[in-house]
């Protein structure tokens, strides 16, 4: 008898308490109603959550909000793979659209060119070094090699080899943080399909560049004559025409000889930088 009473009392009490609290919560929900954006929450779950800002929004949550509002396209996320983007698109019921995948590249061969360095003993940071009279190098357009971009890269895609930065394409997602961090503007976002690049960033006259850099583009236009439309000449600087849709390939590179050897594919560039760094170290 005693136990039964206690049991019944316990059950009744718990039920009553639960019902009372449930009612209070129900009332509160009514009073403090918030218009929640289910679509945005859903999109946020599908996004990678790297918060890299590569889409141009402040983190994944902001991008998800823009997606839900129809202001952005899922393909704007540089981190997601094609399948992930397709999944988000179908979930949101929008057309994924075509966005060219981008990849960063450091357009400089100052290591090969043996650009003269002044004695710089300040803060080991590119932005700081660049403020001191335009940096320790004589070339004011090339890579400073102090690694500010590498520290800023959320994906660890940038490596400093010797005194120059190189981008590992398999890791790069094209978020553009390095481009923003570089005080010299030597890092460019280019289509990921482009294999070959002209590794120089200085628009100075060839003769001026030659005074301090052996590897700078001299603007001889050989490349442009050999493959019209695939290169653009900017002042005294030849660059791959990244708007063309078709980029220089092995055939183009083999069809002429660049006098400074500035037209290289990404892998050879990294290999050359490694070899040079080794050589300098052994010296």
């Amino acid at each position: 008898m005693e136990n039964t009473t206690v049991l019944i009392a316990a059950v009744v009490l718990m039920c009553l308490l639960g019902a009372a609290l449930g009612a209070v919560i129900g009332i509160f929900v009514r009073i403090f109603k918030v218009k929640s954006d289910l679509l945005a929450d859903f999109a946020l779950e599908l996004l990678p959550g790297a918060n890299c800002g590569g889409c141009g929004y402040a983190g994944c949550a902001d991008f998800a909000k823009a997606l839900a509002a129809g202001k952005a396209n899922p393909s704007g996320c540089p981190v997601s793979s094609a399948e992930q983007i397709a999944a988000i698109s179908s979930a949101l019921g929008v057309d994924a659209g075509q966005m060219e995948r981008k990849c960063a590249v450091v357009l400089c061969r100052c290591d090969i060119g043996e650009v003269r360095h002044m004695n710089y003993n300040g803060v080991q940071d590119c932005a700081a070094a660049h403020l001191v009279g335009g940096g320790p190098q004589e070339c004011h357009y090339g890579c400073l090699g102090l690694g500010t971009c590498a520290r800023k890269c959320p994906f660890g895609a940038i490596e400093i080899i010797g005194m120059v930065a190189v981008v590992h394409r398999e890791l790069c997602v094209g978020c553009g943080k390095c481009v923003a961090a570089c005080p010299r503007g030597v890092i460019k976002l280019v289509p990921a399909d482009a294999e070959y690049h002209v590794y120089c960033n200085s628009p100075k006259k060839g003769a001026v560049k030659r005074q301090f850099c052996k590897a700078g583009c001299i603007g001889c236009r050989k490349c442009e004559r050999s493959a019209p439309g695939k290169f653009v000449i900017n002042g005294f600087l030849s660059q791959v025409n990244y708007d063309a849709g078709e980029y220089p390939d092995e055939k183009v590179a083999a069809a002429f000889t660049c006098p400074v050897g500035g037209l290289l594919d990404v892998e050879s560039r990294i290999a050359a930088a490694r070899a040079k760094a080794e050589e300098v170290k052994n010296k």
Partner: protein, 196 residues
């Protein structure tokens, strides 16, 4: 004097985080920024005060009563009921915060619903019940325990904001250094022992 003992004791001497070692999860989780720490601290204080009040009402008047001459003691339901009350309170707080301060709501993130399982809140309620305090004393104790929690959180987050600028050895970066700091802070608080 009794109230002084109750309040000072809850804030400094028997600080929930630094001497009872309860509620460590949000203590480590929400202490990276001073402003979110303040938000978390005040949220926990509110929940602890309310929870202590309601749970002591329950403990004093609901769990022991006589019906038809039978003395019924439902003491075994204590933890269950306390958790129910705390969970409901946290839900209420969450609903209100979402409306009133969306910024703080987003900053607290997962740690807000986790106040439910914050053992400091349950701890305060249980301590109240075990010391058989009346409703007023319990509420006071709950509120000041919350203040103690907030104090610890604010102190710790200020320290961590400074630590963020330091360059410790790789092995100490992040959580290890935070735990070491928490330990030192706890040692400092042990100096209050015997105050009252």
């Amino acid at each position: 004097m009794k109230y002084l003992e109750l309040t000072i004791g809850a804030v400094l001497v028997n600080n929930f985080v630094l001497s009872r070692f309860l509620g460590i999860c949000p203590f480590l989780g929400v202490s990276k920024r001073l402003d979110t720490a303040l938000g978390m601290g005040s949220a926990v204080t509110v929940v602890m005060a309310l929870a202590s009040c309601i749970t002591s009402l329950i403990a004093n008047y609901l769990l022991q009563f006589s019906i038809c001459g039978h003395e019924i003691n439902l003491g075994f339901l204590r933890v269950l009921m306390f958790i129910l009350v705390i969970a409901a309170l946290v839900q209420l707080l969450e609903i209100m915060l979402q409306k009133l301060s969306p910024v703080l709501y987003r900053a607290l993130g997962i740690y807000l619903p986790l106040i439910t399982t914050n053992c400091a809140v349950l701890g305060a309620a249980t301590i109240n019940a075990e010391s058989a305090r009346n409703v007023f004393d319990s509420t006071l104790f709950g509120a000041f325990s919350g203040v103690g929690f907030a104090l610890a959180l604010v102190l710790f987050s200020s320290l961590r904001e400074k630590l963020e600028l330091a360059a410790p050895p790789k092995a100490f970066e992040g959580t290890p250094l935070a735990l070491v700091t928490a330990g030192i802070l706890a040692m400092a608080f042990s100096g209050f022992a015997g105050l009252c």
